[in-house]
Symmetry: C2
Subunit: 419 residues, 2 copies
């Protein structure tokens, strides 16, 4: 009896091994406009308070709040962007626009909606308290305040904050550069017509898309050469160029499965089989300190393995806080029987929705869950995690789900329509 | 008393007006590798079945399932990628690798793990049923089957499917090209040191990032000129170049707020005020059939208005199915009192998590909710939608939330640790 030399290890052990071997990439300085999706490697502080001066929150009139004069003389206008040379004395008011500095002497703003102007005088239909519609200096940001902490992923509001405080160059972790290749003598390029025994390569393209979706840069290494020597040169070159390599295929027990033996020669194979379905032969190695992720060749196996094992690793390399790299997990009610064999942790593709009627998450799988059936991933927003210890789950039972896409959550209106 | 000429309309009415005026952009043919994130404008069918031939699902031996010979002669090997000239007769077996075509005469595969080889012969420690570990033609995709429907957003598995079926050129909706500009005399570029009464522009950069996050292309139009004539020329040029324009500022009631009067002259202003907080002066117009979204000038107002009004519109322009452009909505329990004034629908920024202990979503707001405090959006994964009709909500009450980022959902393990 032929046995794999690689012990089957549990999913969580495999994930822990990967985590122990990947670390954030070095930091670089980039312009803030180019930093979207990257992770701050330093705290960012505001030099000045925001707003930097007492600013009008509305279009209207700057006044003395305690002034009881009915018709007040308009002493001038203070638009935004400069400091007009005007002063608000009792019996006067100044026009102000949103964002304008409050002229000296004024301590409140009355909205234009509550004003009546006649012959250079204004009266108001409403009284206001001192401070009304004035944004005091530092209301939004105190001078010297830390506005963003190291480890923050830079999205739209964070990019805006960098602009606000003038942090136009920021230190971030480098975006991981990931080389992606496919192995398999049966593979032809998508533009080619497959001959007998051949199929088109799909994994390289879906994995490159998944790498990009994880915020990393994907590089197409092409189809691997089919001899040990050529493959070795090919991989060595890739390791020089990229921060990590993701391959698919070549990790089964066939004689032509060159990847594991080659990785053993080049570096250290940390695991070669995981008790997971799909994706049992998934392999993780480091070569010269760089992570090498070898996915199985079946299209679903490669994408699910990427999701479970590679994506969190790429986020850690990109500098994400380790507690944010995993997908959200929720308990879901199965809407139908789900067949499962007890031997391995199984990830089934499913659509998970939040059901207002019972306040619970519900899951429907995406049909036949064959490892080759990429269609089972189309439209899926979740992976159901069926544990090793037991078999088939009945409708109504609760399992864990990883949310890999936006939740289906009908609005209250839609939910009401259904009833 | 000065009144805005624009009626305050409800949020849902404003959203309906926008929907009535935006439509999917024209379609273009693109290479499948460049189609990530775009939306299919045509159904895609498979020409051939997948797998195209009976294929081995494992590394092992192709056999006759009913053959009872103990030691079978190995007649050859069938690797993946070609058709070997071998035939499996009773008393024989052929080596096969994963993905290899099944040689004629064989009707099952026995995994290498259950084989023992000696002197060119093999015996097995396990019997199998006919069909075992053979993937029949069409198991994953039937010949002629529609694999992707028009309206599908192309992510990693869909890109892989396009490769599999050889659909290397696909018709998709064009990615929206969106010009983004800021107006406001108080604004200086982020690299500049603001003078008296000035602040740095943040909105243009946060809005461009939000445009990109919505899958569209963002173009920096810069700071708007401050005269009516110059602004008109500027906007006309932008409308020629881009599919839509997003501005911020210049929509209040100040005399220098040129955007609305200009839009009235250039095209049709469909609404000029919405009963929403933040973002009351948000404005929507069409000029020569192109949508023009004028966001308010406060940083939070502009980003929240973008989220509520612009993002769904850009997705519709990109060809997304209308029922998928809104964010998921869930009911959340407030963990603390939330102040709200009854007059308008208010969107407060919050962190929403799913709590296993009571099986409900819980929300904590992100601190002071001032319209200028961009920090209130940092780390927020939800907008709480507080309705017009009533004021302050107490801790424990349930409100609606729009999930704008991944849910916080501690794993079962983490949840257990907390107890």
């Amino acid at each position: 009896m032929v046995e794999s030399k690689w012990p089957l290890i549990p999913v969580e052990e495999a994930k822990a091994i990967i985590r122990a071997h990947v670390r954030p990439l070095p930091t670089v300085e980039v312009r803030f406009e180019a930093a979207q999706g990257l992770v701050l490697a330093e705290d960012v502080h505001a030099r000045e308070p925001m707003p930097p001066f007492p600013a009008s929150a509305k279009d209207g009139f700057a006044v003395g709040a305690s002034d009881t004069t009915e018709w007040r003389r308009i002493v001038g206008e203070q638009f935004a962007g400069y400091e007009a040379n005007i002063r608000v004395e009792p019996g006067t008011a100044a026009r102000v626009t949103t964002g304008a500095p409050i002229p000296p002497g004024a301590d409140a703003v009355i909205m234009v909606e509550f004003s009546e102007v006649r012959d250079g005088y204004v009266r108001f239909t409403r009284r206001v308290e001192p401070g009304a519609d004035i944004r005091p200096p530092g209301q939004d940001i105190a001078g010297g305040q830390r506005v963003l902490a190291a480890g923050t992923v830079l999205g739209p509001p964070e990019i805006g904050l960098l602009a606000t405080v003038g942090a136009t160059t920021v230190r971030v972790h480098r975006r991981p550069r990931v080389g992606v290749m496919s192995t398999g003598d049966e593979l032809v390029e998508p533009d080619e017509q497959p001959g007998p025994g051949q199929i088109r390569d799909a994994n390289r393209f879906s994995l490159m898309a998944a790498v990009r979706e994880a915020g990393a840069e994907a590089f197409d290494m092409g189809l691997a050469p089919d001899t040990f020597e050529a493959l070795e040169a090919f991989i060595r070159e890739g390791l020089e160029r990229y921060d990590a390599i993701v391959t698919s295929g070549g990790v089964s027990m066939g004689e032509r499965d060159l990847v594991k033996p080659l990785l053993e020669r080049l570096g250290t194979v940390h695991f070669g089989r995981v008790s997971v379905k799909p994706g049992k032969p998934v392999t993780f190695a480091t070569v010269s300190g760089k992570p090498f992720f070898a996915m199985p060749g079946f299209p679903v196996s490669s994408l699910v393995s990427f999701e479970v094992f590679v994506r969190p690793a790429l986020l850690i390399m990109a500098g994400w806080p380790p507690d944010r790299v995993e997908r959200p997990r929720v308990p879901v009610v199965l809407d139908h029987t789900v067949r499962h064999t007890a031997g391995r942790t199984e990830y089934q593709r499913a659509v998970v929705r939040f059901e207002r009627a019972d306040g619970r998450f519900h899951a429907v799988t995406t049909g036949f869950q064959g490892s080759g059936r990429l269609l089972s991933m189309v439209g899926a927003n979740a992976l159901l995690e069926l544990p090793e210890g037991r078999d088939t789950f009945e409708a109504g039972e609760v399992v864990e789900a990883l949310l890999i896409g936006p939740l289906e959550a009908p609005s209250r209106r839609e939910a009401e329509k259904r009833v």
